[in-house]
Amino acid sequence: MDEGKAIALCIKHRDPAGFEFLFKMFRKEAYFHALAFLGNHDDAVDACQECFAKAFRTIPKLNDLKVFYPWFYTILRNHCLNILRRRKLESNYFSREAMFTENHSDRSSPGLLMEKNEEQLKSWETMEKLAPEFREILIMKYMEGLSYEKISILLDIPKGTVMSRLYHVRKAFRKEYVKSGGELHE
C-alpha cells in the first residue's frame, strides 16, 4: 500500500486499514510537531489522539485529497494553537502578574531533548520565548531541517513568504538571545 491508495481506501471505502497505514506513516512527525507547540509529552499525546480521531472521522467526507500530512497538520496546528490560547487565558486569569510579564507557561522540559550542549540549550530557551507561530517555522527549518518547499506545503504559504517569515523569526530570535544575555561573538 502507498499513501495514495491508503487515502482512497479511507475516502471511498471508509476502511480503517487505510487510515491505520497513514497513521503509522506520520505518527512520529505529528508527535514531534505537537511537542514543539505544546512543550510537554502528555499534552502532545492528548493532542495527537484528538487530532487523529478527528481526522479519522472527517477524512471520508473529503472529495479529494492528494497528500495526507499537510491536511492533517492544519488540524493539529489549529488544535495546538487553541490549547496555547486557552493556556494563556487561564494563566492570565489565575495570575495577575502574568498580565505584566512576558512569561510563557508553555515551556518544554529539556528532558525531551537529545544530547545537547550548553549553547544549544541556550538557543532552545531563546526559541521557547518566541511566539508559537515563530517557534513552529524555526523548528521546522533548524531542528527538523525541512526544505522551504516542504515548509511552504505544510503551512500552505508561498516559498517567498517562508523566506520572509524566517527573516522576521531570525530577527526576533536575535533580539531575544541578546536580551537574555547571550553572546553573539565567540
Partner: protein
C-alpha cells in the same frame, strides 16, 4: 528601503542554501551597492551559528501506539468487556436467585447474604451521592485535562 525588504528575505534564503543561481546573483548585485543590506547580512549570518537546535528524543513504540486507537481494536475490546461483564452479572444473578429461593439451604446463610447485598448497595449509593455532591461544587470541572 521598501525595495530592500525583498532582499532581506533573500539573505535568509542564501544563508539556508535555498536560492537559485539567479537569485544569488541578484542578491550579490544588490549587496554590492547597499550598505544597509550588507549590515543586515552580517547580522543574519551572526545568528546562524546559534540556530542549531537539539533534536527531540526518539519516542518509544508504546508512546507512538497510544496516539490513535484503531476502531477495530476499540470495538473488539469494548465487545469483550461487555461480554465478560454481562456473563459475570448473569451468573451472579442466577446464583443469587438459586441460593435465596432454594428450599434446601439453611436460613442463616440466606440472611447473611441478604445483609451483605443490602450493605453493598447502601455503600454504593452513598459513594455515588458523595461523588455527585463533589462534582456539583467542583470549581475545576470546566477545565479540560
Amino acid at each position: 528601503m521598501n525595495n530592500c525588504e525583498k532582499y532581506h528575505a533573500l539573505i535568509v534564503g542564501l544563508l539556508d542554501n535555498e536560492l537559485t543561481p539567479e537569485e544569488i546573483h541578484e542578491l550579490n548585485m544588490h549587496l554590492n551597492r547597499c550598505e544597509s543590506c550588507r549590515n543586515e547580512f552580517d547580522e543574519m549570518k551572526e545568528i546562524s551559528g546559534k540556530l542549531s537546535l537539539p533534536s527531540f528524543k526518539e519516542p518509544e513504540d508504546e508512546v507512538l501506539e497510544q496516539l490513535w486507537k484503531s476502531p477495530y481494536s476499540r470495538f473488539t475490546r469494548n465487545a469483550a468487556i461487555v461480554m465478560v461483564l454481562g456473563g459475570y452479572l448473569c451468573l451472579m444473578g442466577y446464583g443469587f436467585y438459586e441460593f435465596m429461593f432454594s428450599n434446601k439451604k439453611a436460613a442463616i446463610p440466606k440472611v447473611a447474604l441478604t445483609a451483605l447485598v443490602i450493605g453493598f448497595l447502601i455503600l454504593l449509593f452513598s459513594v455515588i451521592r458523595e461523588r455527585i455532591k463533589t462534582y456539583q461544587k467542583d470549581a475545576y470541572k470546566e477545565v479540560k485535562r
